[in-house]
Each structure stands twice: as structure tokens, then as C-alpha cells.
């Protein structure tokens, strides 16, 4: 009996510890989110008519050319930004992992610096730097008498530029950590049996960092898809990214159910990537030590 009550005590203490965050999570996030999802598939309440199921709001969304173009624009920006991030961060991480020079330390600090810069500061800094009559524009005018500078400000390229900058630290951190898990001797063993540098990269290193690669891919995709501050401050008036579009629908057009529909759609798209993430993280590494 004594052991049983002790077991129950431990059990209770465990649940008591996780209860506060769990309750907050359920009451403030899951419940309202569930409510919102349900509302998007219900007909409006009218006197004398019972509420029924409907997909009208979603049909309306896809019937609206502006909504469609905003959704495609968001997906396009997300894919392009993620691709550019890999292009920039992979060489950087490889350098940080395999270089033993002192410059590597400086490069690491530079790569991690954006981590400490809030998005809104970054956006304004980029406006001052790359905007019309900004630093770059002025420099080109004065030094080269060149007046053809096309600012990325209020263009898709402005969003992409800032989002890439903003996501470099996280990407580099995860990739470098993943690369550090690959032991030197694993690479040397491959060199030893005759593999060239490229072959070692594609057949040894890449398969071994599959997991951090997928993690960084998923989290970047979700973060970029749902970004708000940077597209709001740097992006064009049309098309808009979903975060900006939702905010406008909600506060400027006062269309609450429209904003909810956009939110649920965004959530569904992100949850596909989220599912990939969860699968990657929880997958049993049958073949790994």
C-alpha cells in the first residue's frame, strides 16, 4: 500500500507541475483556435434559422483574385527565401564547421548578429540603407553619378532580402550544430578509401545531417510563411503576404470571418510542413547510433 500511495503522489506531483502551462495552452490557444476553425465552416446565425455547415467562406476566398494572388505570393516568397537561405547558410556553416582559422570566429559573430536585432529595427535600417535616397542610392549618385538604382523597398525583393537576413542566424546555428555531429574520423575514413571532397559531401555528410536539415527547412518555412513585421514594413501594397493581408482584412475591412478563414488556410498549409517536422523529430533512428 505504501508504495502505491507513493507512486500516486509522484504521479500527482508530475501532473501538478505541468498543469499551469497546459491549462494556459488549452484555454488561451487551443480552445479559441478550435472555435475559430469551427466558425469558418458554420453559416451565420440568423434569427429563426439554425446554423449549418458550409464551405462558402473557403469558396469565396478562392473565388477572390486578390486573395488567391496573396496566397500564391506568400508561398512564392516562402519558397524563394528558404532556397536562398540554404544557398547562403550552407557554405557558411561548412566553413564554420571545418575551418580552424581565427577568421572563423569573426564570421560566426557576424552570422549570429541578426539574432539580436528585432525585426522592426532591421526593417527601418534597411529602409534607410536600401530605400530611395538611402545610403546605397546616395553613394551611387555621388561617387559614380549613377541614378539608375532601383530600390527593393516596397517590392517583393525587399521582403525576401530582409527575411533572409533575419533567418541566417537560426539556420547557421542548426546547420553548424548538425555538421559538428559528423565526426572528423567519419569524413577522414571516406577520404581514406578514395572519396573526393564532393563525394564525401554528398554521400557521407549530407545523409548524416538529414535531420537538422529537415528541421531547419520546416521551421524556416513556417516562420517565413507567417511573418508579419518585415512584409508589413518593406513589402508592396499588392500582392501582400498572408500575415499582412489578414491584419488588413481584420482591422481595415472589419471582416472578422474573412480574416479567420485566411488564418485557418494559412494554418493548414503550415501544419503540412509541421507534420513533416514532427515526423522528422520523432522518427526512430533505427539505423543510427
Amino acid at each position: 500500500m505504501a508504495t502505491r500511495s507513493r507512486y500516486l503522489n509522484t504521479l500527482f506531483a508530475g501532473y501538478a507541475l505541468i498543469a499551469p502551462p497546459l491549462i494556459i495552452l488549452v484555454l488561451l490557444i487551443f480552445y479559441p483556435a478550435g472555435q475559430a476553425i469551427v466558425r469558418t465552416v458554420m453559416t451565420d446565425q440568423e434569427v429563426g434559422i439554425a446554423a449549418g455547415l458550409t464551405l462558402d467562406r473557403y469558396f469565396n476566398f478562392f473565388a477572390d483574385p486578390i486573395a488567391r494572388s496573396n496566397l500564391w505570393f506568400t508561398i512564392w516568397v516562402t519558397v524563394v527565401t528558404t532556397a536562398l537561405l540554404f544557398l547562403v547558410c550552407f557554405p557558411l556553416s561548412l566553413y564554420l564547421r571545418f575551418s580552424s582559422s581565427r577568421i572563423a570566429g569573426i564570421v560566426q559573430v557576424l552570422a549570429l548578429f541578426p539574432l539580436f536585432v528585432p525585426g522592426v529595427i532591421l526593417a527601418f535600417a534597411l529602409i534607410r540603407y536600401l530605400g530611395p535616397r538611402g545610403t546605397v542610392d546616395t553613394f551611387l549618385r555621388i561617387v559614380f553619378n549613377y541614378t539608375g538604382f532601383v530600390t527593393p523597398y516596397l517590392k517583393p525583393s525587399g521582403i525576401i532580402f530582409a527575411l533572409v537576413w533575419d533567418h541566417i542566424p537560426f539556420t547557421v546555428l542548426v546547420l553548424t550544430a548538425g555538421l559538428r555531429q559528423v565526426e572528423d574520423s567519419v569524413i577522414e575514413a571516406a577520404r581514406d578509401v578514395g572519396a573526393s571532397g564532393l563525394r564525401v559531401f554528398f554521400q557521407i555528410v549530407l545523409p548524416l545531417i538529414q535531420r537538422p536539415l529537415l528541421i531547419v527547412f520546416c521551421l524556416n518555412m513556417i516562420g517565413i510563411f507567417g511573418s508579419f513585421t518585415i512584409p508589413y514594413l518593406l513589402g508592396p501594397a499588392a500582392p501582400q503576404m498572408m500575415g499582412v493581408y489578414m491584419q488588413q482584412t481584420f482591422t481595415d475591412y472589419l471582416d472578422r470571418s474573412g480574416a479567420e478563414t485566411q488564418a485557418v488556410l494559412s494554418f493548414l498549409i503550415c501544419s503540412v510542413i509541421g507534420a513533416l517536422y514532427v515526423r522528422t523529430v520523432t522518427r526512430r533512428r533505427g539505423e543510427r547510433a
Binding site: 574520423s185 567519419v186 575514413a189 581514406d192 578509401v193 578514395g194 572519396a195 548524416l208 539505423e287
Partner: protein, 353 residues
């Protein structure tokens, strides 16, 4: 006929103003089919030397030659050497078969030939049916066997092994050591084996190169290294040794209150006297007998290890046959039968009584 020559091989790390010399003018020649061990304490430069042969470290000077051809400008993937590493050597995302076949595939051999050679090399290390497993499903000993198979399947001119068994438990280490020796003998492959374990070196090697602080101390057959160590370091590092301070004077070396004969070539100067624990006999008290109190007796199977506290020589270690009845706390008298006299950096003089 693969031979390996390290010629004035040198490696220094650190800055120009503050260089750290890891390997200093190392000269070693390995004959065809020979099994050579490089032995030394950690940090003596033995692994650095091996890694320079494999191509993973660039020498600061000197040359590495295989069959009298310099390989110093070849990248590791072009060198006719194969290496077995200390740990984490198998690629965890590939099955055992693919681990071994990797190098053969790079050489574009036909599929059925690869199959045959992988199978043959797995059988060589006693893992004939393990091809379908992942490295994580193997024990540490099995993983190192696969690593050996992976190195041998490429038929390298020189097999390099960098402390391959040091992460395994003692029994397994001894077994794998014997298996490796057998395989090496059968294949007649030239091999260089780096280790800090003198027992491993003594039991494996045709010849041992003892290194200390980046320098070669002695390169000889195991028996010679043990019986005639050339330097104090080797005398102290290989096997157990009683090191006593002495003073040579006129054909006699004085150790504590004892006098031992010394060869005429010895100069009158301080000396180190090295006595192996087994080079003593128990005697009656009398002229030339040493005495002391037994402080500890350990039974080590076929002999006894005895610690003796001598009033003028300090603690001595003796290996005595079990036929002699001795107990803790008793007095014992004994005599050295053989010892070495070290004076300065010169090779020692051996004295047999």
C-alpha cells in the same frame, strides 16, 4: 614489394614564433610485409606521424615514401594506404555491406566482383553474415572488425592502424589483437600500428618504434627493446623497471650502501641503474646481498609481484617465482643478476652477474 620510409619527417604546430614540434626528424623504415608498432605515451607524436603517412596532416618537412616513391604531394584519397581509426569509423547511415563496398564502388568495379570481395573480406574478419546490418546494430568489437575489413578490401600497399582497439574492453582487445596478427601474417601486408599500450606492441610487432616528445627513442625487435632499452625513457616506459641512483667510480658502481661491478668503459660519474623486477634471485644473507622488508605481495598467476622497502634504496619491485615462500612484513635478502647502467644520453652498459 611495398616498403614504407619516413625520412626526416617533421611536423610543427603553432605559430612561427612559438612552434610546438609534434614530430621531430623522424626516420623509420618499414620492410615489406613487416608489422611495425609505433609506441609511446599520449602526445608523443605517434598519431601525428601516422596521419602524415595517411595524408591527413601535412608534414612541415621531410618525406614519406612508399616503394621509394614520394607520396607527400598526394591527397589522402589518392594514397595507396588504408587506415583503421580509433572510433566512430563506420558510416552510420550505410549498412555493413555498403560501408565495405564504398571504396570499391569508387573504383568502378563490376557489381559481382564487389559482392565477392566484400563477402571475402567480411569472412576474413569472421563476420560473414553481417552485411545487412547497420553499424549501430553491432558491438564495438564487431564495428572495428568491419573497419578492418573495409581497409583490407581495397588491398592497400600499407595498412595503417591508429589505436584501433583502445576503446574495447581488455579481453576483446587481446582477442582482436591476435586475430589481426593472424590476418596480417596470412596476407603478408605491410602494417603500421600506433598504440600507447606496450603489451599490445610487444605481442603484435615485428619491430617497435618507441617515441617520446616527437622523437624516435629506439627502433628494434620487441625482445631487444625489452632487454636492451637504449634510453632511460624506453627503460622506464617499457615493462616494469627499478630505477636507482648510483655513482660509478673505478670499476664499481655504488648504489645506496651496495656496490656492484661496472665495466671499465664507464666514466666516473653519477649514473642511473636499471634493474628489471625479474632479474633478481633470493639469496642467503652474506656478501653482496640486498635486504628489505616485504610490504606487499600480489599473486599474479604464475609468479608473484613483491614490493620490498629497502632501508637505503627505497621501494623496489620484484617478480619472484611461486616456489619461494614469502609473506607480508617479513625480511627478505636478494641479489640482482642483471642490470643496466645509464650515463647521459649514451646507450647503457649491460652487466650480468
Amino acid at each position: 614489394m611495398p616498403t614504407l620510409d619516413l625520412i626526416n619527417l617533421r611536423k610543427q604546430f603553432g605559430s612561427v614564433t612559438n612552434p610546438v614540434v609534434a614530430v621531430n626528424d623522424l626516420n623509420i623504415n618499414v620492410a615489406d610485409g613487416e608489422f611495425l608498432c609505433i609506441l609511446g605515451p599520449s602526445g608523443c607524436g605517434k598519431s601525428t606521424a601516422l596521419r602524415m603517412v595517411a595524408g591527413f596532416e601535412e608534414p612541415s618537412g621531410g618525406d614519406v615514401q612508399i616503394d621509394q616513391q614520394s607520396i607527400i604531394n598526394m591527397p589522402p584519397n589518392k594514397r595507396p594506404t588504408a587506415m583503421v581509426f580509433q572510433k566512430y569509423t563506420l558510416w552510420p547511415h550505410m549498412k555493413v555491406y555498403d560501408n565495405i563496398a564504398f571504396g570499391l564502388k569508387l573504383r568502378h568495379l563490376p557489381k559481382n566482383q564487389i559482392d565477392q570481395e566484400v563477402q571475402a573480406s567480411l569472412e576474413l574478419v569472421g563476420l560473414g553474415r553481417y552485411g545487412d546490418r547497420y553499424p549501430a546494430q553491432l558491438s564495438g568489437g564487431e564495428q572495428q572488425r568491419v573497419a578492418i575489413a573495409r581497409a583490407l578490401v581495397l588491398k592497400p600497399k600499407i595498412l595503417l592502424l591508429d589505436e584501433p582497439f583502445s576503446n574495447l574492453d581488455a579481453l576483446l582487445r587481446v582477442r582482436l589483437r591476435e586475430e589481426l596478427r593472424q590476418i596480417q601474417r596470412n596476407l603478408k601486408i605491410t602494417a603500421v600500428f600506433v598504440t600507447h599500450d606496450q603489451e599490445e606492441a610487444l605481442s603484435l610487432a615485428d619491430r617497435i618504434a618507441v617515441m617520446s616528445k616527437g622523437e624516435l627513442q629506439q627502433l628494434d625487435k620487441p625482445a631487444t627493446i625489452y632487454a636492451r632499452p637504449k634510453t632511460l625513457f624506453v627503460a622506464d616506459f617499457i615493462g616494469a623497471m627499478n630505477m636507482l641512483d648510483g655513482e660509478v667510480n673505478g670499476g664499481v658502481v655504488k648504489v645506496g650502501n651496495q656496490r656492484l661491478p661496472s665495466p671499465a668503459e664507464c666514466v666516473a660519474a653519477p649514473a642511473k641503474i636499471a634493474i628489471r623486477p625479474e632479474d633478481v634471485i633470493v639469496t642467503q644473507t652474506g656478501e653482496g646481498a640486498w635486504h628489505g622488508r616485504i610490504t606487499q605481495v600480489s599473486d599474479l598467476g604464475h609468479y608473484r609481484k613483491v614490493f620490498v622497502q629497502s632501508p637505503d634504496l627505497g621501494m623496489l619491485k620484484l617478480y619472484l617465482p611461486k616456489s619461494i615462500e614469502i609473506n607480508d612484513g617479513e625480511m627478505i635478502t636478494f641479489k640482482p643478476t642483471r642490470f643496466l647502467i645509464f650515463q647521459g644520453p649514451l646507450p647503457p652498459f649491460e652487466v650480468k652477474l
